[in-house]
């Protein structure tokens, strides 16, 4: 500074000289051209980056592997290409250079983010999976999680809800908690507790998943569900590099093919009504219509065959346009580097009137002040808005086919306006869709500022302050004509959360005597979370008109309105030591302790240790001659993680609002709403992991095997207590659940020549088991229609529990002679009499399967030939069972829409017994089948999730367009889905009852999960 101030003239001249130097130097440079080829097979390599060392000047090789660059004799050219070793070639006096690049079989030197630091992949001692974002952002999916589906062993990404903007469900090595959640912890650029929905896939550099507890233990308190670490892109020194990625396409729902209409529909309706009538002793020879001898409830109007032939699924669905744009620029110099990006996403839903829009910005800036101090910040504001349907799709598609979608005058007829009795009393589905204005908006900003001090060689200190600010609004209005009750309704819910974290980490890394690698961290983290929410609802029917949708047009319902604030705090201290001897014997140990405000005064602190070891056998002298083996590593780990995802202050008995209306005046009262448990503490998961990593033939074949055994105990479990205490349950640290399983990851480079083919396969099997329930053998949640979900020792959590069907009761004689449920009639199921006592009672209920898959598989095939690349991603799941309660709607009930596959196998009468296994489905006898395996279906599937075909435009062409890279691609999402015969749902992963979320959970319950969308997109990606 001083220098420049004193001698301004000199400074200006220097600056000028600096500016000029590039040009001057360029004049000296000559034309250097050449070809880059692969060391194996001499195939030319397109897309190789050729940069003059120490500058940002560079080109990429064209489709034939050729390049041309202006370089001076003193320059050194750096050739780099993903998967290949970097090559540096001094230009000297050469004008044509042939460069041979070797595949980098030591991808092992790749760095893996492990939480508060990075580790060389070869030195990792735990089970960590990594996905790099090469073309993930060119796969058209709504959220970053979705691209992970099928890519990582043991990471099960399930798209339960396919409506735009919905988050998929992620389970890492099975679910283990009943009441405290099983979602993994998401760490975005170091901030724990972020949401993947706020990150644009384009901005992601890599995603690491910490699967075993020894890895996740560094996030101790919150790592029980595994940890997903997202690292976003940072700017690199060099000239500004722009990237533009865009795709647009159309989504079509994959619906059912077997809806029936017209005469066929009418005939089944008649069968249905006759069967009902016969059950109450009626004479079915009486005409079904216009004969007063037949009670109205058992008639069938002629309108069913003479009306319209509407397939409601077609009427409410549409081809939906989707589009996504991202523009980013990254660059900088030795002092300041930046990455700035903007994303715009606009997706229409395949269900009419649903859509999702997202606008996001990101700025990552790094500043190197001097050799000691560097600092930086990240900002990621985003805004999204969605319009969603007021009900699940079954409510729309189940509507009877004789009703017109709309009247010529624009009004919407109901089924009852054709026939006053029997048929569904609900409003016209299109009226409900058009008249329900349901919007959700989210404004979110994840920001972080940090300072890093290089204190000494190998010793650094990083301190950061991050904030995650989110505010959500849900606005609802439903017009009076959109609902069967003819009462308009509306509500508004607002919530805002601020999460502030301060993290301080001291890191040390050094190598002693060339063989002892030591690295260590010690840190402290403080986090505070504040939330506030308010919710207002109108008295139903109180909107003055259907024009103004805000609540000022209505009367607020005090008993449906609320406002609250809450908070939690977390303090953590942690330390980890990694030690490696000659890169051969590796050891890592960590300890973390967390204090949480959510637990009782004496139980706030939890301790989470971990240790892991690895032995790289391939580094031993005796393995040096075993040529085919390029890498062989054994590892073992143990770790403890915790879970505190319960409500704030649950250890206290809480007083809540209740209402009563003495003198017809709504009055607020108060009462204790929870039992309270002062000794509430951490739920802990202890797990072992044993792994083997094998690389063969210079790592052309890579195999990773893992076996794990994880046990969660002290479950934060709403354990049943005698209700004479006043409460049926109390949150306690009771019970234990285990997950054991193994994972296989096999990556092979099948062809490496000009035609390249890589395959990566993974499979995972997880066995979930309830180990302890605090002294009781089982706990059953039975839903309204009789299906049970059981927690039973030795069985997977929340298995279906009910009767097993062995046939159908054919006639009165059969009913008399079979063990039956009380009140059974011909057509009802014949159940397995488990205890053989001649009658069917609740003692005859058995476990009927479980929603969790027994195993799941992923297979990605990547092909490349010259400028073309093709990627096919497949996913499979085996053994999951789904309770497709939704089927009930399409079997004739209320004479609604019917599906052929659900009516033609049914028992209609002794003369029309169907296939002998499907009982008569009737609303009046619904519990006879809904409490059995009648609706339990095998949800195994094999899906081709994505086919992505890309073409990289030759560099000579793209350069003419002043681009340094241009790829165009076509993508097809969900082209094929194969399910088991007898599966009737839209989506084998789609269930509407949620997953495990407390003791009353009904995982696997499907009552209207939306169809899977087949999405056709075209996209382009270019750099300049």
């Amino acid at each position: 500074m001083k220098f420049y101030l004193k001698k301004p003239l000199l400074a200006v001249m220097l600056a000028l000289a600096l500016c000029m130097s590039g040009r001057l130097w360029a004049q000296d440079a000559g034309n250097v051209s050449g070809t880059v080829v692969d060391s194996v097979g001499n195939a030319t390599l397109p897309g190789v980056s050729v940069v003059i060392k120490g500058t940002s000047k560079g080109v990429t090789t064209d489709v034939d592997g050729k390049f041309q660059i202006q370089a001076a004799a003193g320059d050194v050219l750096t050739f780099s290409f993903i998967g290949y070793k970097k090559v540096e070639v001094p230009v000297g006096n050469q004008s044509v250079i042939r460069v041979v690049m070797r595949q980098d079989n030591t991808v092992l030197d790749e760095l893996v983010v492990v939480g508060y630091g990075t580790v060389k992949k070869s030195s990792v001692t735990a089970s960590v999976a990594k996905v790099e974002n090469t073309v993930l952002d060119q796969i058209p999916v709504g959220r970053p999680e979705s691209v992970l589906a099928g890519r990582l062993a043991g990471v099960n990404v399930t798209q339960n809800n396919t409506s735009p903007g919905s988050a998929p469900l992620i389970r890492i090595r099975g679910a283990s908690s009943i009441d405290a959640g099983n979602d993994p912890l998401v760490v975005i650029d170091g901030f724990p507790g972020g949401s993947l929905g706020s990150v644009s896939t384009n901005d992601i550099e890599s995603i690491e998943v910490l699967k075993d507890a020894s890895a996740a233990a560094i996030y101790g308190s919150r790592g029980a569900g595994g940890v997903i670490i997202v690292t976003t892109k940072k700017g690199k020194s060099g000239k500004a590099r722009f990237n533009f990625n865009a795709y647009a396409g159309v989504a079509n729902a994959k619906g059912h093919k077997d809806w029936i209409t017209g005469q066929e529909y009418y005939d089944y309706a008649v069968r249905y009504q006759n069967r009902e009538y016969k059950w109450i002793g009626g004479d079915t020879s009486i005409p079904v219509w216009n004969d007063s001898r037949r009670p109205n409830a058992y008639q069938v109007s002629d309108v069913l065959k003479n009306g319209n032939n509407v397939i409601w699924e077609d009427a409410v669905m549409q081809s939906a346009a989707i589009q996504n744009y991202n523009l980013s620029v990254g660059g900088g110099n030795d002092h300041v580097r930046y990455y700035v990006s903007g994303t715009l996403k606009d997706e229409k839903g395949t269900l009419k009137n649903t859509w999702y829009k997202n606008y996001g910005l990101r700025a990552n800036v790094d500043v190197t002040v001097n050799s000691v101090v560097s600092l930086g910040f990240m900002l990621n504001p985003s805004y999204s808005k969605r319009r969603f349907a007021s009900a699940d799709i079954n409510n729309y598609v189940k509507f009877p086919s004789f009703v017109a979608v709309q009247n010529p005058d624009g009004t919407y007829p109901s089924a009852r306006s054709y026939w006053g009795a029997v048929v569904s009393g609900q409003a016209n589905p299109m009226a409900t869709l058009d008249g329900s204005y349901y919007y959700g908006t989210t404004v979110n900003n994840l920001g972080e500022a940090f300072i890093n001090l290089n204190l000494a060689k190998g010793l650094s200190f990083r301190s950061s302050l991050s904030t995650n600010l989110a505010s959500n609004t849900t606005d609802r209005f439903q017009a009076s004509w959109a609902t069967s009750t003819s009462l308009n309704s509306g509500s508004q819910a607002l919530s805002s959360t601020t999460s502030i974290a301060n993290e301080n980490v001291l890191s040390y890394t050094n190598t002693f005597k060339g063989v002892h690698n030591v690295s260590a961290i010690a840190g402290a983290s403080y986090q505070k979370y504040n939330s506030s929410s308010s919710s207002l609802a109108a008295v139903n029917g109180s909107f003055n008109n259907d024009i103004i949708h805000t609540l000022n047009n209505a009367i607020i319902n005090p008993s449906a309105s609320s406002s609250s604030r809450s908070q939690w705090g977390l303090i953590s201290y942690f330390s980890r030591v990694n030690y490696g001897f000659k890169d051969k014997y590796l050891l890592s140990a960590s300890i973390r302790t967390d204090g949480s405000s959510r637990f009782g005064p004496d139980n706030k602190w939890g301790y989470f240790p971990s240790a892991s070891v690895a032995w790289r056998i391939s580094q031993e002298d005796f393995m040096k001659n075993v040529r085919p083996v390029s890498e062989l590593k054994l590892r073992a780990s143990y770790g403890a993680t915790g879970n505190f995802n319960i409500g704030d202050f649950e250890y206290l008995g809480q007083i809540g609002d209740v209402y009563y209306s003495p003198n017809n005046t709504l009055t607020k009262g108060q009462t204790q709403t929870s039992y309270g448990n002062n000794s509430l503490s951490w739920e802990k998961t202890k797990s072992y992991d044993f792994g083997l990593e094998l690389g063969l033939f210079r790592n052309r074949v890579n195999l990773v095997l893992d076996y794990y055994d994880k046990r969660t105990s002290g479950l934060l479990y709403n354990v049943s207590i005698p209700s004479i205490t006043g409460f049926p349950s109390s949150l306690s640290n009771v019970g234990s659940v285990s997950n054991k399983g193994f994972e296989v990851e096999l990556t092979t480079k099948n062809l490496v020549g000009e035609f390249k083919w890589e395959t990566s396969f993974n499979m995972a099997r997880n066995v979930n088991k309830v180990e302890d329930l605090g002294g009781v053998q089982e706990r059953i949640t039975t839903d309204t229609y009789g299906m049970g979900w059981i927690l039973r020792l030795g069985q997977p959590m929340f298995s279906y529990y009910g009767y097993k069907i062995v046939g159908v009761l054919q006639n009165a004689e059969d009913v008399k002679n079979s063990p039956v449920l009380a009140g059974s009639v011909p057509g009802n199921p014949k159940f397995q009499d488990v205890n053989g006592d001649g009658q069917i009672t609740s003692a005859d209920k058995v476990i009927l399967g479980n929603f969790q898959p027994k195993a799941y598989f992923g297979l990605i095939n990547n092909f490349a030939y010259k400028a073309f690349d093709l990627s096919i991603a497949m996913q499979a799941s085996v053994g999951a069972k789904m309770y497709n309660f939704e089927n009930e709607y399409y079997q004739g009930a209320l004479l609604g829409a019917m599906r052929r596959s659900l009516v033609d196998t049914q028992w209609w009468s002794e003369a029309e017994p169907g296939n002998g296994m499907v009982p008569a489905s009737s609303l009046s006898k619904l519990t006879y089948q809904s409490s059995s395996d009648a609706y339990i279906e095998d949800a195994s599937f094999l899906a081709v999730r994505n086919i992505n075909l890309g073409y990289t435009v030759p560099s000579n062409v793209s350069q003419k367009l002043h681009l340094s890279g241009l790829r165009v691609y076509a993508s097809l999402a969900n082209p094929f889905m194969f399910t088991k015969k007898g599966f009737h749902g839209y989506n084998p992963e789609g269930y509407t009852g949620g997953e495990i979320a407390g003791t009353g959970s009904k995982p696997g319950y499907n009552n209207g999960a939306a169809p899977i969308n087949r999405v056709y997109t075209l996209g382009l990606n270019f750099n300049f």
Partner: protein, 486 residues
């Protein structure tokens, strides 16, 4: 030196965090909810807690029909809706896993917990207005007695809880006998009568002296303690200012739901604090002028409908036979019977019409029964005919007392017609033992054209006089034993 400074700074930062943050982050207190340690401190807190007790009954009362009307001959479950466990109640095949009895057990004991909490904390506040402490004690005791009366009628002997108990204590607690439970009820009601104000000195929907007197009389009838029943009910009839309203139908109208006949009712307000019962009884297609949609969970039995004599004004206010769809208001009405007692214009699932617990007609019929059992048939007939006369608007249908071999059959019949869908029928059949014969057959849907009802044969058994104790509660307890027969 240059290097150590930042280390020092870093360590200082951490040390700073250690000391100052811990308290701010870990020792937080709830901002939006009270806890048992800072509640129950003022008279207003106690008033709020008493309202909480009523809230418990207000919640449960909407589904009481499933255990109290469905098993009897007034009502059967519709084919259009399924409520877990209701089919078993309807066909008298209830087992210990029944979801309805489990829910009833939970909510009733939750109500008892709330009443106990009021009584256990009543001495903490010191700022009660005149008479209010007594009133709150009386209300809590009345409500506790009512909860136990419901429990003992539904389950027989149950655990007696009058204190805050720990989970361990709860698991060890055995059932008390019916006698012990009734002794507690009588004790609570006696104290409530002494402490509660007269009905006009307290808001409607809250317990008054007359409510406690009436309930105690009713309890004596259930105990078949005819002498005490007669004394208690006589006192009520003589001293308190209740009377039958002249128009039966006006009892079921929003504008006249508070009237001189009500001893105790559960209050509801349309939309904001409404009940589900009106919706449950409304046909799926709705009712013209009342609601465009209903849930039609259950339908009236012909067994009841056929008993109304021509001219009985109660019929139209209890059941309707002809129905018009609001979607086609000009179409011919069709034969489609439904329960109309709670059919007032209402918001779906949130109707404002109150659900009475005790009204004067009930008291008169109980009084009549007590008189007859005490040997005063003449006066018994007078009381019975008061109800009869109001129903027909004249004395021409009055009983002479000779219409049935057993006079109590006349009373029971009148109770069914008068109090249908007011949660009395099943208990009346059980306490008189008539359920064993009456419930052997139930006539349900009537075929208007064929003039024949659907007849359902049932097998009522002695042990069904009480429901089974919920199995889940037995599993959690060392002391709880299942009722005989289950």
């Amino acid at each position: 030196m240059k290097i150590t400074n930042p280390i020092k700074t870093g360590l200082m930062l951490i040390a700073l965090g250690l000391t100052s943050c811990e308290d701010k982050l870990l020792n937080l207190t709830p901002e939006s909810v009270l806890t048992p340690t800072n509640f129950y401190k003022t008279a207003n807190d106690i008033n709020q807690a008493v309202l909480g007790v009523y809230n418990s009954l207000q919640t449960r009362r909407q589904t009481d029909y499933l255990l109290m009307e469905v098993p009897a001959d007034n009502l059967y479950m519709s084919a259009n809706t399924t409520i877990a466990g209701s089919n078993d109640v309807d066909f008298l095949t209830v087992n210990a896993d029944n979801a309805l009895t489990a829910a009833f057990w939970n909510t009733t004991y939750n109500g008892i917990f709330r009443a106990n909490a009021v009584l256990l904390n009543i001495d903490t506040p010191t700022n009660y207005g005149v008479g209010l402490k007594d009133q709150y004690i009386g209300e809590a005791k009345f409500m506790r007695a009512l909860f136990y009366f419901d429990l003992v009628r539904v389950f027989g002997g149950v655990p007696k809880v009058v204190d805050k108990i720990s989970i361990t204590e709860a698991a060890a607690l055995p059932k008390s006998t019916e006698e012990e439970i009734y002794a507690l009820i009588v004790e609570d009601l006696t104290d409530a009568i002494a402490k509660l104000p007269a009905r006009k000195s307290i808001a409607t929907g809250r317990a008054s002296k007359g409510a406690a007197m009436g309930l105690l009389g009713k309890v004596y009838v259930y105990r078949q303690d005819w002498a005490n029943a007669k004394t208690q009910l006589e006192k009520l009839v003589d001293e308190q200012d209740y009377k039958l309203v002249s128009d039966f139908a006006s009892l079921w109208k929003l504008e006249s739901e508070d009237n001189d006949e009500i001893l105790f009712t559960v209050k509801y307000v349309d939309g904001t604090n409404g009940q589900n019962l009106s919706t449950s009884y409304t046909p799926n297609g709705g009712l013209v002028g009342i609601a465009d949609r209903g849930a039609e969970t259950s339908l009236p039995s012909w067994s009841l409908m056929k008993k109304y004599e021509p001219g009985d004004k109660r019929k139209a206010a209890t059941v309707q036979e002809w129905w018009t769809s609001p979607a086609q208001p000009n179409a011919e009405p069709i034969y489609y019977p439904y329960v109309s007692k709670y059919a007032v214009k209402h918001s779906y699932g949130a109707s404002g019409i109150d659900i009475p617990v005790l009204r004067y007609a009930d008291i008169l019929l109980l009084y009549s029964e007590a008189l007859f059992k005490s040997g005063d048939k003449t006066n018994a007939l007078v009381q019975l005919n008061k109800v009869r006369e109001r129903a027909f608007g004249n004395a021409t249908h009055n009983y002479k007392g000779t219409e049935a071999a057993d006079f109590t059959d006349l009373i029971l019949n009148e109770r069914q017609l008068e109090l249908a869908y007011e949660h009395e029928r099943w208990f009346d059949l059980v306490r008189t033992g008539k359920y064993l014969t009456v419930m052997a057959q139930e006539e349900r849907l009537y075929n208007y054209a064929a003039k024949t009802p659907v007849v359902v044969n049932l097998t009522p058994k002695e042990f069904m006089k009480v429901y089974p104790i919920p199995q889940a509660q037995i599993d959690l307890s060392n002391g709880l034993k299942q009722n005989n027969g289950y």
